[in-house]
Amino acid sequence: MADVDLAIVGAGPAGLAAAATAAEAGLDVALLDEQPQGGGQIFRAVTVGGAARGDILGTDYLEGAKLVSAVAATNVRHITSTTVWELEHGADGVTLTYSRGGSAAALSARSLILATGALERPVPLPGWTLPGVLTAGAGQILLKVAGVVPARAVLAGTGPLLYLLGAQLVRAGRPPLALVDTGGIADLAAAAPRLPAALRGWRTLTKGLGLLARLRRARLPHYRAARDLVIEGTDRVEAIRFSSGGRTRRLDCDTVLLHQGVVPDTQASRSLGLDHVWDEQQLCFRPVTDAWGESSAAGVFVAGDGAGIAGAAAAEAAGRLAALAAAHRLAAIDRGERDRRAAAPRRKLAAERALRPFLDAASPPPLAILRPADETIVCRCEEITAGTVRAWARQGAVGPNQLKAFGRCGMGPCQGRYCGLTVTALLAEVHARHPAEIGAFRIRPPLKPVTLGELAALATPAPPVAEPTP
């Protein structure tokens, strides 16, 4: 007998929308998330301090509060400040093991929606491990969660999120020192053919154009087609060096905020053994899902950016669709009811997805980021360079998992979250194969570290103590 009908991991827009929709459909729902309040990363802290900074963060951000209050109005069990570190899937449903307040517990559910969202694409550059280098997402989180801003920051990379952050820092009265944009006219030209299809999502597109206009009005130095980025400093960031417009430049700064787009966080989906596919447009792996978000495992759904990058509005729509499909599967609603309620989110999802080909083509990560130079650290946790990965590849590591047999790349606490895609790209380069053939790290529980004490407390009485192997 399962504890709940539906477990949802992640309380961002997809998870929140799924929870509310599932509750409306009559399911008994548990929503688990690492943060103390709902909102995920995009709407982080929107129901607490973040709301006070609404004028800086923008109305899109404030809208997120509605998703949180919609869930609060239901009887969804919202389990906060909780880290889910193990998921097992069987014939009857799923079991999640999680830690909260220093002790571990298990929860069983008949169905599961993974809504764990996205991570920033790793941006391995010389000096990217120095204190003072953060992701653009981290820059936004500091603003949302604590109203903290960098005093002398350079934004480096490309993509809408970087421009949004720039505009937010301008509004906060602390404009960045510069925007070092690895994108350029060539990318826009390459993306232009996809623009007509993207116009279905014209509202979001015009917001993007508005952001760039705001940055121009603020007279933010904007260096385009930047190459050969190097972050300098001994114990912390001191400057960023790059070439742009045929000149080498060096900007003194205290903080560098990096961004090359976001990619699905596939740790949970991989640990469940779900099928994944390489997305050539977004240059990342994502779980295989059908039109409702159901994965290759029956009753396990993936919704939101974790299933493929499409943004917060798309995530909300996808969350609703997954919840409706789960409710139908558990016989809480019939097919007609499911399809009726699904009509509006499906239209919304299609409109938001229509933008993606254009946006992805307009902000591709440069090759130097995908395949960094030998001296660049690739695995931050174990401090392993691109050169070492290439050398191990030449010594017989045909894939990421064989790489782990040679050394500790991917075996630190982050478990390959910030090196996995780079490793796949480097192996693809050395072996002259496509990333889809190379594959990705095998992900095992615990998804996040858990203490031995907590794990031991879950042992059934009189645990078998194995005899050492003869």
Binding site: E86, E88, T95, T97, A106, G273, W392, Q395, G396, A397, V398, G399, P400, N401, Q402, K404, A405, F406, G407, R408, M411, G412, P413, Q415, I438, G439, R444, P445, P446, P449, V450, T451, L452, G453, L455, A456, A457, L458, A459, T460, P463, P464, V465, A466, E467, P468, T469, P470
Partner: protein, 369 residues
Amino acid sequence: MQAEYAVIGGGVVGLSVAWGLLTRGRRVVVIDGGDGDYRASRGNFGLVWVQSKGLTEPRYARWTQRSAAAWADFATELGEATGDDLALRQEGGYDLHLDEAALEAKRRAYTRLQEQLGGDYPFEVLGHNALRREEPEIGPRVVGGILHRQDGHVNPLKLLRALAADVRRRGAEVVNGETVTMVDRPAAGFRLTLASGGQVEADRVVLAAGLGAAALGPELGFRAPLRPQRGQVLITEKLPKLINRPSGLIRQVDEGGVQLGDSKEEVGFDDRTTLTTTAAIAANAVATYPRLAQAQVVRAWASLRVMSPDGLPIYQRSPTLPGACLVTCHSGVTLAAAHARFLPDWLEETAASPDLEAFGEHRFSRAPA
């Protein structure tokens, strides 16, 4: 590709044998499997372990001791060739016990073996207090342990990559990501067809493909009665030194993490970790070294041991295809030195050939396949 030896399998066993042959000046090609294969060399603990082996077959204990005695020299030569320190430590190891009766039973078994080996089996039984002097962090529930002076441990990742690098440096042809699909015998010698369509020709074949040998073994004249046995392992965040010597289930690796095992599960080709077992491993760890309760587990994994029916290695010359040999075991790290230094004499049938009769497949004649 034309070679004297084709070694099928590029894990620790295959590479150790290949390396040994290369140091004898032989031309070797190594055929290695793919990223998704069940590779025992990925999952092992890293023990160079003498105690508790061969309790019912003293010749296995002897073979293991020979390997352990040769390990230091092997590590030095391999380390110097590649510039990599394998972090071998042979300062003894423990078999720790939470139960007096089990400790006593082990002591009796070791004493019997010691007699069979003419006294050459240096172990001592340490009660709790004596153990505590050696291991200050040992917990109150540990009643004692057996310290065997010939035990040790090594960094298995460094071993594997040093072997992989040096085998290439010494001129072996290595093909990765391949499977052998067919074997035929044009005149003398062997022709191996690979899944990719390529072919390898060699005078002799060494089948060291672990669990993969079950498929190819019969074609080469072997019974290869191998089965997978799952073992699960945990590793913690890097910690300051708190464990001095390894035990069969717990060791602190040179890079600082504490590695914890293990289990022996008969679950077929299933290398998933399970909460039940990892929790039991954690409980044992905390009972043995209580300070570990606050240590974070950063990773768990499971690997499939390559088990013969009696747990002993198999060294067998093919009765039907002269020139083909089967080499398989589940203690590939412990036996790496023997495979590198002594097995080539057996493969070449020199005067120094070790007597490996005890490990032939004839012993399975009445055992189920």
